[in-house]
Amino acid sequence: MPVIKIKKKEKNGKIIKITALPFAVIIVIGAFVIWLTDKSQNSDLNQTRLSAYNGLSSLVEKILSAPNTDSLISLSKTFNHDFYEGEKIPNEDSLILLTMKRFKFDLADKINGSTNILDPKRFEKIGHDVVHACQLQIAKLNNIPKEQVKN
């Protein structure tokens, strides 16, 4: 009788090992697929953010070098529609959102012909702040130390 019991136990052990192996393989493959999907989604998200930061900084540079009020008005519409009112810049980018908001106010002053008496160059300074904030985020996404970002 004991011999039969031992043989039965061995058989059960073999069955468990045979059935557990495919499960383990499936779990490993599943985890790998999830990791790959997650990585690809993160990469897409980073690409979208990089494109938004590049778009914003080049638009602000265009605004800063706008030759006349008409082109300033046209570019400010794009700025308001695409970036200020849009969702391209995520809420966690508070530095960019803050400088962007300040830039919007100074842009409005520039368009309506108001000069800041004590800081006539503030519009340009805040514009450069937006560009710099974008460059910092781009560097962060590309794993470049922020010390290497030019002011």
């Binding site: 508070s94 959102l97 300040r102 106010f105 800041n116 008496i117």
Partner: protein, 135 residues
Amino acid sequence: MKIKLCFLLIFFTVTARSQTVKDYVILLTADLRQSWKLDSITFNSNYSDFKKETVFLFKLDNQVILSNSHLQKKDTLTWFLEKKERYTLISLGTIGRYEIDFLQKNDKKYMRLRNEVTAQKNMGITEYFFTKSNL
């Protein structure tokens, strides 16, 4: 020598900073007292801290007297300026803190106070435009 240079640098930095605040004080008080009348309000939010045509008499001793001809009422508050890197804040007693700017358009000078700009997307900002008054 290096320590002396450091002290000189700190001195000039502090002097330059205080001169900037001083520029605001000169325009705000005309170096003694200056009245500013609330001429217009741009509502980008649903509230206003002040009524139109309220006159603010800013005095060099950091006192500001608010008067409104309709209400026959005067309030005295203290004002205080604080320079930030890109803007300057003015505190008006317990009412609040506002960003202050002196602007010029078509040879007309005016003062603007507005709620401090924050990163919050949906937060409305009310702007108050003042012109010099002789009251």
